[in-house]
Amino acid sequence: MIALLVIAMAAGAFTFIAGWWGVVVVALGAGIVFSKDDGRPWRVALGATMGWVLLLGLDAMGGRFGRVATAVSGSMSIPSAALLGVTLLLPGLMGWSGATVGAAIGHAVQYRRRAVPDVM
């Protein structure tokens, strides 16, 4: 649970600092950290999504969240729910794929470490 919250906070913070691909950075990092557990990709996906939900919550405090949804989705000729769904799907997919790839990177690094003989 704590790991989930940390990922969520990190995803939110990195998005705020670096933009949308901040989620990828967090997911890759989490994948490497949790590489022994194959990156816990679903947990990272959920955490990343929660990070964006957190930010969306901050946006919603402005009071015009519904208007954004209707104006933007209407401009793109898609339902508001679809716009929100894609918005939440995006960090989830980035979280899952990033964590999976991150775990693979972690495994590779550990494998290389084990494969290098101790010259000392």
Partner: protein, 826 residues
């Protein structure tokens, strides 16, 4: 396998997230909630308090927004005040600034791709961008006024540079563009665009088109210079409209000698402001009303002024409302066009002003002799060759790629284009203007109506306008303003002139002293609604005004009937549902249609007569009879002017005004009444009866029983206010409004034109004013200020305006936001 799949998904997301796919924006930055589109919810409204540093600012500028979101800008110098104006306009209307400039400079392809190429080619082919470049070069950079134009640009750019990512307007995100640097020349482009909208009206196009069907003599009668109903702007001493009705020349043999000019017009302006004639075309509504009342006829004993330009309705509105104060130097309130450092319509502490379009003929065409038909480099004037100016125009697409390249040619007259295997050049006052912004800057300082006229007369060239002013001294005045060319020969611009001779050129401009003018008339009021400015019996010369006279007749009737006019009455008049057009045509239908006509459904005719007689001739929203009258008028126009349609086609090449149709009513046996599709010869009464019967049948079939809601006027006619990108989700559509074709608040056709700024000013010891426009101060579709005035506008209500002399002149309850602009050294 799982890792490979995840890798593919990740790469796919990174690529798809970062790039536009078709018209869709790059999803990553678009959707992310910290700076993407969702963050607009945080920045939708202006903060209660904020500050910003602005380069080149001499001293602090305080901006207080009132509860209507109108900024009141208080500065110590005029340059700083205009920096402040540029800043607040950019803050509220950034995308509008951008897209208007693209439209005016022929660069819409940069956001819309090649599909916008025809529009861009039209702008550049007319030479509008070139004209702006020449105007600003002529203005220099050191004059006091140009310093203000540059200061305005400073203000716009200061906002753009420090704009938080979350405030980037939605439209930029949707189109994947960024706001560019604003330049002083962009303000000139904008005014040229206004000229394009208002000053490319050539009545001779309709006349030429009609001549191609019914001959020149008949065409002259159908599209006369002088209106058959005279209710001029400059009072002619009469207390009622004068009907100058004559028998119309009958249809004759087709005459195509004037068709070259029509072809030229279609080459230069293919978007076709001249190409009316479709049976369902709406009456012209790009018109305006204004009127002023002398103290002798106002209840308060103060002069009153009302202004109401009818223009394209858009979201955000064409207008932005603001108040600029520099103590001791400037105190002006009004509406500015975003991008223009000037109050176009408004008032200061002493005088108020407004405009209607004159509709003067300020465009001429010349057939040029060139040295090489395929690749001309020179053209001949008086036997000598002159070099042609060439200009390469490149149109860029959404990714900066070149989508087309044109070579443009210019003679000393203006742009030259290929028309029917000839080279035709065009001269147009709009292309020779350039001091209009300076004129508006000047009138902001005027202290009387007379001074205001003098300033405009000295500087203003295009588009020609009827300027109305009222001042605190109790004076009211009207003057046409603009440049009116003097032509050789018959003085008319009704044919293509021979460009080989300098004698064909304009001989100069008419002196301002000859312009239509009136001041403090004995009748106690002045009114203009685009009608002919001067009664031809009073003075020769044609100044424009080929609009129908119905609005002018109505406002004159209302003002004649009220000897103690109040501001409330002025506001009520602006949306008055009465119609002089209906007052003339309804009796015609009722008076002559009470009989049996062969081939006409007697039952439908009887019902039509019964229902039309019930009509109060008002276009109120719940009215259930106006729809019948409009359908009858449509039928009447179609059946009467069938000679103007090509064989086998229902489309007319041009449609005479309803004033000419009214003139025709006086001649019951005219050949024009005959319906060519029937073997018998019809007369006026036959056509009136057939039109009304057909109208009843049509409306009954379409809308049900006569007292059903389907007959309500607001089920038939709406105002439609489109977003600049025509996105329905960001538009306000199908708005029920009071008014119909040719009422004072006209509603017709597509509903996309109408009252764009209703203003009433009382010029007492302290100015009092009321106004509104269809839209809101913010250009941000997420903001509550985007369209908050539309309900008021549809109800025809105006809001009182605050005109504080100092920032403290607004109470805290009257303030919605405050902004401090502070100097920042570069």
């Amino acid at each position: 396998m799982r890792v490979a799949g995840a890798f593919v998904v990740l790469i796919g997301l990174l690529v798809a997230g970062a790039r536009r796919i078709g018209p869709a924006p790059a999803l990553g930055p678009f959707l992310e909630p910290a700076h993407g589109v969702w963050s607009l919810a945080r920045s939708a409204e202006l903060p209660r308090k904020s500050s910003a540093a602005v380069v080149n600012l001499g001293a602090a500028v305080r901006v207080v927004y009132d509860e209507r979101a109108v900024p009141h800008i208080f500065a110590t110098t005029e340059e700083d005040a205009y920096r402040g104006l540029g800043y607040v306009v950019a803050r509220d209307r950034l995308f509008q600034l951008y897209v208007q400039t693209l439209a005016a400079t022929g660069r819409l392809t940069e956001i819309a791709g090649a599909r916008a190429l025809p529009l861009d080619r039209e702008m550049r082919g007319l030479g509008l961008p070139r004209a702006a470049e020449r105007a600003i070069a002529a203005a220099g950079d050191t004059t006091a006024f140009m310093r203000l134009v540059n200061a305005y640009a400073d203000g716009v750019n200061a906002y753009v540079r420090q704009m938080p990512a979350a405030e980037l307007p939605l439209e930029f995100r949707l189109t994947g563009t960024r706001p560019p640097v604003w330049s002083a020349i962009d303000s000139y482009h904008l005014f040229n665009r206004m000229g394009y909208t208002l000053a490319y009206l050539a009545v001779e196009n309709d006349r030429s088109a009609a001549a191609s069907r019914v001959g020149a003599r008949a065409a002259d009668a159908l599209f006369p210079d002088d209106s058959p109903i005279q209710e001029p702007i400059q009072p002619n001493g009469q207390s009622a409209p004068r009907m100058d009705f004559h028998a119309l020349a009958p249809p004759g043999a087709p005459d195509t000698s004037a068709s070259l000019m029509l072809a030229a017009s279609r080459v230069f302006v293919p978007s076709g402001q001249h190409a009316r004639g479709n049976p369902d075309d709406p009456p012209r509504t790009m018109a305006s009303n204004n009127w002023a009342v002398s103290p002798s006829r106002s209840a308060s004993g103060h002069a009153l002024l009302a202004g109401d330009p009818h223009l394209d309705l858009s979201l955000p509105s064409i207008w932005y409302e603001a108040h600029v104060v520099v103590p001791g130097r400037l105190d002006v309130y009004g509406v500015t066009i975003p991008g223009a450092p000037a109050m176009v319509i408004g008032f200061n502490r002493d005088v108020a002003w407004t405009f209607t379009n004159t509709g003067a003929d300020v465009v001429d065409y010349y057939s040029e002799q060139v040295d090489d038909e395929a690749h001309p480099t020179r053209y001949q004037v008086d036997g000598a060759w002159r070099p042609l100016e060439q200009r390469i125009e490149r149109y860029r697409g959404m990714h900066r790629e070149v989508v087309a390249t044109d070579t443009m040619y210019f003679t000393h007259r203006g742009p030259m284009r290929r028309v029917r295997n000839r080279w035709i050049s065009m001269r147009w006052t709009v292309l020779e203007a350039g001091r209009e912004l300076s004129a508006f800057y000047g009138i902001a300082h005027a202290t009387s109506a007379a001074q205001l006229e003098s300033i405009m007369g000295a500087s203003y060239k295009a588009p020609a306008q009827n300027m109305l002013a009222a001042d605190r001294g109790g004076h009211i005045a009207m003057q046409s303003t603009g440049r009116f060319p003097i032509r050789a020969g018959d003085g008319k611009g009704s044919g293509v002139r021979d460009g080989r001779f300098s004698a064909s050129d304009w001989l100069g401009a008419l002196p301002v002293a000859q312009y239509p003018h009136a001041a403090d008339p004995g009748q106690g009021y002045l009114a203009s609604a685009n009608q002919q400015p001067i009664d031809p019996r009073v003075a020769a010369g044609w100044w424009g005004g080929n609009y129908d006279p119905w609005r002018a007749m109505r406002i004159n009737a209302l003002l004649r009937a009220d000897s103690a006019v109040t501001p409330a009455a002025m506001q009520r008049f602006q949306t008055d549902p009465g119609s002089a057009r209906a007052d003339l045509f309804v009796p015609a239908f009722l008076g002559v249609a009470r009989r049996t006509v062969p081939g006409v459904n007697a039952n439908a005719l009887a019902n039509g007569i019964r229902l039309l007689a019930q009509w109060d001739r008002k276009y109120t929203k719940d009215n259930r009879r106006a729809v019948l009258f409009e359908e009858a008028m449509r039928e009447l126009v179609r059946r009467t002017w069938d000679e103007l349609a090509a064989e086998g086609d229902t489309r007319r090449v041009a449609t005479p005004s309803t004033a000419v149709l009214a003139e025709l009513l006086a001649d019951s046996a005219s050949q024009w009444w005959d319906d060519r599709s029937t073997p018998q010869v019809e007369r006026r009464d036959d056509i009136l009866a057939a039109s009304l019967a057909a109208a009843y049948t049509t409306v009954h079939l379409r809308s049900g029983e006569p007292d059903a809601d389907g007959w309500r006027w607001d089920r038939i006619r709406f105002a439609n206010i489109n977003h600049l990108l025509r996105l329905p989700a960001l538009s306000a559509l199908k708005l029920p409004v009071q008014g119909g074709p040719e009422t004072l608040s006209p509603s017709s056709g597509t509903g996309t034109h109408g009252s764009s700024w209703r203003m009433v000013v009382e010029l007492g010891s302290e100015i009092r004013a009321w106004a509104t426009y269809p839209g809101g101060q913010s250009g941000n579709p997420i903001s509550t200020r985007y369209d908050d005035r539309i309900p008021l506008w549809t109800r025809g209500e105006l809001q009182p305006l605050h005109v504080p002399r100092t920032p403290d002149g607004l109470t805290s309850a009257q303030r919605s936001s405050e902004l401090d602009l502070i100097p920042r050294r570069p």
